[in-house]
Symmetry: D2
Subunit: 417 residues, 4 copies
Amino acid sequence: MQVQTETDPKISAHLLQRFNEVRKFSVSLAKPLSEEDCCIQSMPDASPMKWHLAHTTWFFETFILERFEINFRPYHQAYRVLFNSYYNGVGQKHPRAQRGLLSRPSTNEVIAYRHNVDMRMGALLERAISNDSVSESILDLISLTELGIQHEQQHQELMLTDIKHMLSMNPLFPAYENSLPVRHRSSLENADKVTWISLDAGVVMIGYDAISFCFDNEIPRHRQFVEAFSMASRLVTNAEYAVFIDAGGYRNPVHWLAEGWDWVRNQGLTQPLYWYRPDDKLWHEFTLHGLQRLDPQAPAIHLSYFEADAYAHWAGARLPTEFEWEMAATTSSSSAQLLQLFGTAWQWTSSSYAPYPGFVAAEGVVGEYNGKFMVNQYVLRGSSCVTPVGHTRTTYRNFFSVGARWQFTGIRLAKSI
Amino acid sequence: MQVQTETDPKISAHLLQRFNEVRKFSVSLAKPLSEEDCCIQSMPDASPMKWHLAHTTWFFETFILERFEINFRPYHQAYRVLFNSYYNGVGQKHPRAQRGLLSRPSTNEVIAYRHNVDMRMGALLERAISNDSVSESILDLISLTELGIQHEQQHQELMLTDIKHMLSMNPLFPAYENSLPVRHRSSLENADKVTWISLDAGVVMIGYDAISFCFDNEIPRHRQFVEAFSMASRLVTNAEYAVFIDAGGYRNPVHWLAEGWDWVRNQGLTQPLYWYRPDDKLWHEFTLHGLQRLDPQAPAIHLSYFEADAYAHWAGARLPTEFEWEMAATTSSSSAQLLQLFGTAWQWTSSSYAPYPGFVAAEGVVGEYNGKFMVNQYVLRGSSCVTPVGHTRTTYRNFFSVGARWQFTGIRLAKSI
Amino acid sequence: MQVQTETDPKISAHLLQRFNEVRKFSVSLAKPLSEEDCCIQSMPDASPMKWHLAHTTWFFETFILERFEINFRPYHQAYRVLFNSYYNGVGQKHPRAQRGLLSRPSTNEVIAYRHNVDMRMGALLERAISNDSVSESILDLISLTELGIQHEQQHQELMLTDIKHMLSMNPLFPAYENSLPVRHRSSLENADKVTWISLDAGVVMIGYDAISFCFDNEIPRHRQFVEAFSMASRLVTNAEYAVFIDAGGYRNPVHWLAEGWDWVRNQGLTQPLYWYRPDDKLWHEFTLHGLQRLDPQAPAIHLSYFEADAYAHWAGARLPTEFEWEMAATTSSSSAQLLQLFGTAWQWTSSSYAPYPGFVAAEGVVGEYNGKFMVNQYVLRGSSCVTPVGHTRTTYRNFFSVGARWQFTGIRLAKSI
Amino acid sequence: MQVQTETDPKISAHLLQRFNEVRKFSVSLAKPLSEEDCCIQSMPDASPMKWHLAHTTWFFETFILERFEINFRPYHQAYRVLFNSYYNGVGQKHPRAQRGLLSRPSTNEVIAYRHNVDMRMGALLERAISNDSVSESILDLISLTELGIQHEQQHQELMLTDIKHMLSMNPLFPAYENSLPVRHRSSLENADKVTWISLDAGVVMIGYDAISFCFDNEIPRHRQFVEAFSMASRLVTNAEYAVFIDAGGYRNPVHWLAEGWDWVRNQGLTQPLYWYRPDDKLWHEFTLHGLQRLDPQAPAIHLSYFEADAYAHWAGARLPTEFEWEMAATTSSSSAQLLQLFGTAWQWTSSSYAPYPGFVAAEGVVGEYNGKFMVNQYVLRGSSCVTPVGHTRTTYRNFFSVGARWQFTGIRLAKSI
């Protein structure tokens, strides 16, 4: 699946260490949660915490242990189906919308499943480390383990976005934890000052070119022509977005894509997800720390593509393409001036999620990882405050459909010049 | 709401004892369950175990403590909304289909809520018992407490039907418990012998006439004319129903009501809920004890009105009216010959759920208990193997809509003669 | 299907004359309409005028010509499917909701189809008339012809209700015709005076007992016990219903059945179908004559069962049962005092549509005529201003589901006494 | 809206002539149809023929007559709403899905509306022609008239696709006409031979650059970098597509986008729209000439984006981007070798419909023409056998959503090299 990865077996000791750290971090995310918190699926797009913990384990068991372990026997026959997300090549799947109907296995049983697979993965990796020669098979093992680690990191972000959504459905507005193991998103001190960084037209190289890991959707590295444009130095703030609302943004079709306007009206939307105005007074926002006053300097998040596009239209700007974003983020003169590129909020681009020229999906089942989703999705660039540390690249392509709001998604404006 | 109840204050000591027993029994039903089991809502028609435990408590708090307790303060402001089932008179309700999205309050917090209300109810009832004179207010208290007890017993049956449905959604087919606190439904020894009990035409008295408790839908006691008919001595068995299936019962529209045929086809139904034929071999049935071989002598259950009506049509018979059923169950010559009237399975009647002549809903909010559901529902008579002991009357009117299958519902045939 | 009918062959000459008159009347109803008017299906419950004209013809062709005509050949093979309404026994049916997608056959082609079948039916009936002996087969022919005539009369009412609905969907509010071949519904001169007619309790005979035609759902004639009640002398007027609206009738759940309240809210209803208040001023009503000022003395119509029940609840009364209605309409002392029993508006009863004791559906395909609809429908009694003359009986049982509003349906109140 | 158009007033005489020809051609397309044919809307995405005839007229009346005509008075107040397609700036719109519920105005009334607007447009244009000086206003008039003509030509193609769909819903499979005023799509003589035309990587100019008319979505002309690729010399044929079907194409998820596979399964699709296999024998295809044997050499059409993408995947190729397509069609060495670029079938590209760099929507209401649809649509290039003659450009960007099948849409394959 991933095309390039560390293939030096000497570094697989480091790989085992990273494997163990990432696996532990997932479990730590469940610490503040009750069994009930871990069990609920608040909407078909979200999954229960327990399911994430099991599915990421299933990934290692199915794609690595089953292939490399001698005398492999599945941990539990039914898990093969229950925790298959979308891999048709593996066989049957439990229906996605019914993930919240499973009281068994319990969270504790899932944790036991994790321990079992961790132990077997450890044994497998240690055997590979101690091996003198580097076979094709060992390279495959390393490469798939790296993919499994990256895959689990993707789910760590989803765990937090799904937990937030689940808690938000409760009128009690419970907080995830006070001592939260995730960062606050950065609030700027001088958010009122936005500058526009300009870039000249030209052919740019797009896509991953280093020798470490990337997903298959980030390559082949190839050329794109980008016309001259400028890009905002920071993300749109809550204060700015509130002005859009007050200016009737959700009531005027002129700013919206036709499909976006239908979306607004069919759902009767008047504000971003998680925004509340108790007693019609001050804006509040539901966060992983509970309901809080809206911070005007913080970037506006949990916005759909439709909202991002409408805001940009209203503001006399537009969303950047993913090529513009990558160009700006990789050109030293511009990237130095751009705030909040990573670790704050994913940034919608106007680029539909599509294969790069020459894209070839991986062989076998892991080929289903990315390619089959390349339709009716839009690319997001950067990373968010709940993206795991180290899971960030300038070439990273996140993607969601146009109505998705439960991710930490914000707006960086651009303009043609 | 209930029209007649024990009003002798001397017996309110007995009432307190019954209150405590019934309240404890509800909690005991949750004993075999994990927190996750108690949290899930498997379909909009069903509720989480935890919700049942809270709602039955809310009933006492809202309709009794709030009215009779001095210096009443609600246990938790949000519970007023979260655990209101359908009483518009009380105010807002949490949406029914979202009862499974609440990880908080936890089951333990709900148990604490129960203890608090039980304690306060106990104090209230003891004060009433020790009172010398019998005021109107004390009679109301007794009457509403009785209603609350009966209401909780109704929910005890729903707890088990909803748990069964929730467990059935899990491909692991978990059992509720081996030492189940509910009865098996009776399996007859000679189920192949059915006799037809005939009754002559005549005017019969229908409805409750004793001085104990009944629901308001069982009165006024009044006259109905019933033409001559005969009724089967026992319920239709699994073996008999399997013949209907094998004869193409689910594939031939001629046996079905038009709306029933649409229901069969739109859902692609071929057998009762909970029936499975692993590897296309022997029939099995999901039960509270797990997946088991189908007992041919046991009554067929979990049948919708549509299925009951189609089976009756195919068998050259029909469903009884609720008046025929009550007449047969209360006429000594016939009732002695009728097996499985109670404690096995609710029995569909062809009677639409309607008010008896002169029906008046109770004043105030409890008037919403029954009357507003009297449309597009059909009456079931008898009681089932999961109906609490003591919650059974010949005049009892249970009711469900035509497609409901998750209750313990079976078929008793009748014929006009 | 029909159980009793004129079986004297001497009167079959009269039958032929009635056949011809009824068939001509259907065509005359299409006279004011354009081809486009005849083609549109405004909702799945309604059918295009053209379809009604073809289906009633298909009925004679399929159930009579195919059986009795020597060397029968279908007029058009495809019509067998296209114009089959719901008879599974005949074979395939064109999907009901797609009746408006058929531009061919044209209305003129359907008229030609009618002429062809009329001619062949005429020949068949004349041959039967001239026959000396009365065979079983001739009696069947007479009986089925009578059924076909009655069936076509039922559709004549549906033609007008469906045309009205179709025209109402057009913002131009076109009138059906100025010289309308249907009666206005009667407007009372002293509508403010309503009297209550009381009847004593007793056993009454219910169902058809004459020797002329009736549908199978009107028999067997049998006994019912009816408790004492009183019934309003006339239907609820527009003026009275407007008071209910002004009193917040559509905003207060207390008056509504639970399912009815969901119905009101899900559709955002605030008034009867066809009521409009241009510029928030005076009430108007869309009629077959176009948009007109609401006549306060005229009976309120186009009300669903839910609305009828809610109004009755608000007015401190209830709907009558169908047995009460029939008893009142057939008891000479009361029927003389009851206005608007027939020819004004169908009157909702609280009786679910169910088979009479001993009901047996006709053998063969025509057995699908009535019985299979006996669930989740409520009985209406009387007849409306668009019911064909002569198609009226005190035992007639019309039926619709609880949300139907496009029929000429009104409210007669009753009370238990 | 259009950015460039003929602005020389001397040629506005020619404009009037073209206006008259195009307007007449629309009416001629309705000639073979009955009033009923013109009235039906077979699905929400399609419109009745009558509506197309009225809407294209409304376009001239609203955007030209209302602005330029002295003493303008609308032809009919209600038409302003009834025939507004999606212009929020003009005010209210009749709901799109209800266009088939309007029997009035009749087709003849719509024709009269057309005559009236044509006459007034003619007067307006002649006055402009005879004007000595060329004012800004006259240039606007010419420009908007050109837009109205192009707009009507777009609807001429939709009229035929919508008529075809409507007729296909009829089991009688009526033909549109024998002497059809539209071309057959070309069937190749040697369809088995496909060659691959290669193009080198490079920066290409994309978008319209001539001085005649184009839509705003075709500009600004700008630079794109295109990596080396090859493109098939002709479209995929029916014979080739049938092999895909026989190879289990519709049963194997491996070829499909995830969303496409859901689409296939939810609708139970097994073949292209309009393909039939009577008695499971030879493939037939519903055409505007009626049901016909499938021509194996003709290009496969009426394919959705999902089907086009799945076929390409199965065939070891992919869809071209719109830039590749335009580059190949405008490079003389390749365009000479490419068959069926125009006049056969629209060709799906893998490019999501997006604004070109620097895109600015027109001011005012006509700015709603294109820009607001730029999401979740895919670009098609070329033109089809039902595209009006003269309505074809290498830069033309047609677009539909991924499940659309009722347009004349086919597949041209590409490969990265």
